[in-house]
Symmetry: C2
Subunit: 205 residues, 2 copies
Amino acid sequence: MKNISSKTISRVLLCVRTLESLMREGKITISSGGLARITGLTDVQIRKDISNFGKVGIPRVGYNIRDLKTVLEEFILRKNVIRVILFGAGNLGKAILKYAGFGKQKLKIVAAFDRDKKKSEKVINGVKVYPFEKALFLIKKSTADIGVIAVPQEASQEVADLIVAAGIKSIVNFAPVSLKVPKEVHVRNIDLTIEFLSAYCDASV
Amino acid sequence: MKNISSKTISRVLLCVRTLESLMREGKITISSGGLARITGLTDVQIRKDISNFGKVGIPRVGYNIRDLKTVLEEFILRKNVIRVILFGAGNLGKAILKYAGFGKQKLKIVAAFDRDKKKSEKVINGVKVYPFEKALFLIKKSTADIGVIAVPQEASQEVADLIVAAGIKSIVNFAPVSLKVPKEVHVRNIDLTIEFLSAYCDASV
DNA sequence: GCAATATCGTGAAATTTGTAACGATTATGC
DNA sequence: GCATAATCGTTACAAATTTCACGATATTGC
């Protein structure tokens, strides 16, 4: 199989989300142009992205929504369930725990950790929050796919080291810090300040 | 001035964040290579990004941290304070309101709105939460730069319409929905599900 | 003061990403 | 059944982005 670029992956995931929504509306088929209008992508881009995964479309008709969703998900997400470990049960951590999309879908938060004893030992939205000290032991057993860092920045590198030590290869980092990790570990940074400022700058160009 | 690309803007903002951190450490100068090692970017990329804004560096020395930060901020963020309006004071909204980076820095949340009467009329982290009905009136007066959507997806389009009606040109949208807005309005989408899945997919390629 | 060296700034080459054009294919209407 | 129209998949092209290579310049050590 070809190398799928990170940009293609984001676009395809956006299409999958849109396909799910169309299914809920009871639609059966959709054209690349229709998907383009909803998502804001272009029709050519959508067809090209999809062509990475085979020939699923029917000329003059478009794509069968259910089939397309299946094909895209099978190629991109090779697991049925992606297991997430969360560090930090403060405001952001809670927001992630309660986020509507999770649970129902592909992502499953298998455990959360917090240094604050008052926050740990609770259960939030069906997920148990453990004290920080138990983290390494528990996550080694749990074989998680993604580690999420939602702790204050002072603690972020320490948590990253712990995630790396547990053998997890994928990190989502909300702390405004450039983490040091081995190069085989992939970090996706979401710094809200940068996101907000980017949004403002992009608009004013 | 040249057109600064969205990618350049993100990288420059990352550099600004790093420069602030270096200033706190008491450092005076930094080379492009040094910044590269911290941020994960390449040295050439950093020099090229900076070259958009003039010649600030000193050969054999590097950049004066304070000067570089000033230059980058002046060119990218032309306002001293960027005013943010927040919709939704649920978990995510609260996380944004209490996020450490805000307030101290360039971003100022000037008002928040929530449909739930129990949440509105409170003050969170110095920001008053108003009932939803007052939104259009208040935000037209307030001349905000960015509108943030942190409401459930059912309400997201309605909120987007309201932000557009208030004349705000820049939206950050956390709802997993493709918003319909006029083309002069810029939307930055942060769908946590897509971000998490992307992180997983990127790592497994 | 001069050679050696680190670092910047930048034009050119290489790579990646996106766009346009168009033949191939399938449903529709007559 | 055949012309028409809509849509896919793909190849060739264009634009954007990144990387490379190297001249210019400032500091350091002798």
